[in-house]
């Protein structure tokens, strides 16, 4: 990890600074590595783990190609085949694609934005452990032969208890949800970090374009994942406790699952594509030798893309029987989504056209990207046309299409980025002997495998069949596809060998081998744990920086925070828009807490899996306790007031700031939570309007008294939270107000439990009762979490972590309880309106 400083005139001050900072930021040796929270360490772990799952998923893909190479093959039986293709899809999407982009985001974003780490290092580590344990559960199931076997989109009723009685589907629902916790925590973290933690002077218009891509991607994740998490929770509840959310015989609807799944599933494609497009937008200008063309147009395009990608989920459902008029909305939307994509493609072409492009290995993969992604986009527009989709849907044409899209959007840019950033990771210059044949093997193999699938799909071959009879022209097309698959695999194997060779034999290089223009190269390579010895001041667009030339002055500590103080991990918080420095952020040090918390979360998941519900509840409480405990070691124990941060600027620490990162984190967490709540309410209304077997036999009853009491109790809690905040601000003890808020929350929980107990029809009898109970349980859960907030407030006040200046804890509690009160009133109002809704159904056609 020692930066190569020898032989330069600035060696001694830079070296002294390096030693001081490395002491503070570094991860310890041996087992202490498990306590790592540093973004470079965790980011690398994410990428390596994701690559391992990519290898496993790739092997599974190869197994399907072996099975399908010849008609009536006996290589695998149908049960194995169903597990293999399900796990191939699930692993590639949930354990490779998303975590890979998260790893890249964690590793690169802080460096590119000129800051020392992400806002919540412990949360990054927790996210990683959740991902690793969730992935381990799924992999263990695969080894044990009880892997999920219902296809990666788990359509119910096939995935319901009746038709999949084993543990397979539970493993998918729980394992994937576990992994998604990490996706959500990271998304919130990325948003907050991009918005508030950049190099001073980096206003929004000076942000490197990758920052925009990551910001938009993370915002998409915050809204896209909750519908799937909700769907998974509902389906698991149906499987475990018999609540019929998706059971058509009891007023549920399997199509509700499809809506929830694809409301996540479609944006997910763009969540994968956008970060990779961000990498392309970073690399292409470097190789063209000129800044990215159309920066503003690209920003508009990615905002448009982000939104429109949410409005086209129904194009996965063109054959479920939705009226043509409604399909037309989504068909036209799926067509117009090509426009922002085309804007980006032509911005890249124009960038290359303006400069003097040089050929090298990353550029070769960028060529691979252009070729594959354009084909995937064109077949995407074809499938967006409703009548064509009626023929091609769920055939190998679709399989070909999405492999071209994901291969183009993810695999080729990922490999380009790998070769481009490898010197940053290793501090060694690339040698390209093996890289070029590896590229051609992958490129030719990829096209051979997947291009032919278009044809076999048009010839009528449906996806997910484990074997076929020797008819028509399927046989030779499948055989060639399989051969292509092996060529591609050999190519990937060469890439791995190439990587090892480069790690072993690459020539050492001090910094910036590419003449790059972004800040991640303005540091000695490989990067140190603290990334920047001092933070740069940004005066122009931050993707036009002479990074190599800037690095020595930053290493000498000539930027902001070029010193060590109090053993603190310090970095700067800036104004969201202007990038003016506003607060001194002191980050949490390394700790085993994320590991323990993830282990207890994992124990809760495993208990659920084995129907040990008391254990699951206990472990969930332990997890909650650990989160409260984590709060005990965050923040500063006294008021400091403004402190010098270098270059003549003084700033107060984040604990005394009006808008510390934690405040924004809660806001975006509530956006995610609000999306989940909205999805749940839409689910109820969706069932009401289109599920079979409605209305239920008994008319639902209203219990006005507990309902109104609960709402009133929530309002009391909100008043209590306000009083507590006012007391703290005025320097008075807030305990009484906290007690009032807690009493309100407890009373609300009691009232809601009574309401759930009186839901008619019973939750296990009809989906009306089940969804009503779910909406109410949502509120009760939030009130319970509100109690945890209050508990944390009390404990932190005892430890002296709260003062009149450092009062953000109480603002967080107030925000949470306000949110609980509003969703609670809406939820209870909806439950009260159910009898009327059921009466309206009588007017149906």
């Amino acid at each position: 990890m020692s930066p190569a400083m020898e032989g330069s005139t600035h060696a001694s001050p830079a070296l002294r600074l390096h030693r001081q900072l490395a002491e503070i930021w570094g991860t310890g040796p041996g087992l202490q590595r498990l306590a790592a929270v540093n973004h470079s360490v965790i980011g690398l772990r994410f990428m390596v783990t994701a690559f391992a799952f990519f290898a496993i998923g790739g092997v599974l893909g190869m197994l399907t190609r072996v099975q399908l190479a010849t008609p009536q093959a006996r290589f695998m039986d149908v049960e194995t085949y169903n597990q293999v293709f399900t796990m191939h899809g699930s692993m590639m999407l949930f354990l490779f694609a998303i975590p890979m982009l998260e790893g890249i985001a964690v590793y690169l974003t802080p460096k590119m934005l000129g800051t020392r780490d992400f806002a919540f290092p412990r949360l990054t580590a927790y996210g990683y452990w959740c991902y690793l344990f969730g992935g381990a559960i799924l992999t263990a199931a695969l080894v044990a032969g009880v892997a999920p076997d219902g296809g990666w989109f788990m359509y119910t009723p096939l995935s319901s208890k009746v038709f999949t009685p084993g543990i397979n589907a539970d493993i998918w629902l729980l394992g994937v949800t576990f992994v998604e916790i990490s996706a959500l925590t990271l998304a919130v973290e990325i948003i907050v970090s991009v918005l508030t933690m950049r190099a001073p002077g980096m206003s929004l218009d000076r942000m490197p374009i990758f920052g925009w891509y990551m910001l938009v991607t993370a915002l998409m994740m915050v809204v896209a994942f909750p519908p799937l998490i909700l769907g998974s929770i509902l389906l698991e509840t149906e499987r475990a406790f018999g609540l019929p959310f998706f059971d058509p015989t009891r007023g549920g609807d399997p199509l509700l699952w499809q809506h929830l799944f694809w409301l996540f599933g479609h944006p997910d494609v763009y969540i994968i594509f956008l970060p990779m497009a961000g990498l392309l937008s970073t690399m292409i200008p470097v190789f063209a030798g000129t800044p990215l063309v159309g920066y503003r147009a690209v920003v508009v395009a990615i905002i448009g893309l982000a939104f429109v990608s949410f409005g086209i989920w129904v194009h996965h459902m063109f054959t479920v029987g939705i009226p043509h008029l409604a399909l037309a909305f989504f068909s036209a939307g799926s067509a117009i989504v090509a426009v922002p994509t085309a804007v980006q493609l032509f911005a890249w072409l124009a960038t290359l056209a303006q400069g003097r492009p040089r050929w090298n290995v990353p550029m070769l993969y960028i060529f691979g990207f252009f070729s594959t992604f354009v084909i995937g986009g064109l077949t995407g527009v074809m499938l967006a046309m409703v009548p064509f989709d009626w023929q091609a849907h769920d055939t190998y044409f679709v399989v070909a299409h999405f492999h071209y899209v994901v291969g183009g959007a993810l695999a080729f840019p990922m490999l380009a980025a790998l070769y481009y950033w490898l010197p940053l990771l290793t501090g060694r210059k690339a040698v390209h002997g093996l890289s070029i044949p590896a590229f051609w093997l992958i490129f030719v193999g990829f096209n051979m495998t997947f291009f032919l699938m278009h044809l076999v799909g048009l010839l009528g071959m449906p996806r997910r069949i484990y074997t076929y009879s020797a008819i028509e022209n399927w046989t030779w097309l499948n055989l060639l596809s399989s051969v292509g698959g092996f060529v591609m695999t050999i190519g990937f194997a060469l890439v791995v060998i190439d990587l090892i060779a480069q790690l072993r034999f690459g020539r050492r290089v001090r910094r910036d081998p590419w003449d790059a223009a972004t800040l991640e190269w303005a540091m000695p390579i490989p990067p140190t744990a603290y990334a920047f010895a001092s933070l740069p001041s940004i005066e122009a667009r931050a993707d036009r920086i002479a990074a190599g030339a800037l690095a020595p002055s930053l290493a000498r500590g000539e930027g902001y925070l070029g010193f060590a103080r109090n053993g603190w991990q310090e970095t700067l918080g800036v104004n969201m828009t202007t990038g003016a420095p506003e607060q001194l952020i002191v980050l949490a040090r390394q700790t085993y807490l994320p590991l323990w918390t993830a282990l207890s979360t994992g124990a809760a998941v495993l208990s659920m899996l084995f129907h040990f519900y008391l254990g699951a509840l206990a472990m969930a409480l332990v997890t909650a306790g650990l989160f409260v405990l984590a709060g005990q070691s965050a923040g500063l124990a006294r008021d400091y007031g403004p402190m010098p941060v270098g270059r003549g600027v003084s700033l107060a620490p984040h604990t005394e700031s009006a808008d510390p990162p934690a405040w924004w984190a809660l806001i975006f967490a509530l956006v995610a939570d609000g999306t989940l709540f909205t999805s749940l309410v839409f689910g109820l209304l969706y069932l009401w309007i289109s599920a079979p077997n409605w209305p239920p036999a008994g008319r639902p009853e209203t219990h006005l008294l507990p309902a109104l009491t609960s709402v009133a109790a929530l309002v009391v809690a909100a008043i209590g939270a306000r009083g507590a905040l006012r007391s703290v601000a005025a320097g008075r003890p807030p305990e009484r107000w906290i007690a009032l808020a807690a009493l309100g929350l407890i009373a609300a929980i009691a009232g809601i439990v009574v309401l759930i107990g009186n839901v008619v029809p019973r939750p296990n009898v009809h989906a009306l009762g089940a969804t009503a109970a779910a909406v109410l349980a949502f509120v009760a859960l939030h009130a319970a979490i509100g109690l945890l907030f209050l508990l944390s407030n009390l404990l932190r006040r005892r430890s002296g972590l709260v003062s009149a200046l450092r009062r953000v804890d109480f603002r967080l509690s107030r925000l949470w309880i306000d949110y609980t009160t509003i969703t609670g009133a809406l939820a209870i109002g909806l439950v009260l309106a159910l009898p009327a809704l059921v009466d309206i159904l009588g007017m149906r056609a």
Binding site: D205, V300, G304, V308, H324, L325, A326, T578
Partner: protein, 100 residues
Amino acid sequence: MLGLGFCIWASALVVAYVLHSVGCTFAWPTGALRLSLTLAILAHLALLAGLWGAYARARSGPELGQTGSFLRWVVVWTLIAAFVTTAFTLLPALFLTTCT
């Protein structure tokens, strides 16, 4: 602000989709369903056009300087893009058979 235009597009899509399924479920007359859809979409288009005009005329405050004009440019173009998207995705459907 950056997401405003497309939030209105999203609202237009949701309103149109919900109106359509409610209308089909409760067997509204075809003419009434078509008319209500048209009005809902046109209302969203009018809102987008109004905002577009307002933002195109507005001057950003001097305190934000370059950043302000950058943001204003982006907002105006997201509004335009959202307007075109709303028209392109929702209007053609109005000519189709309503409930099959």
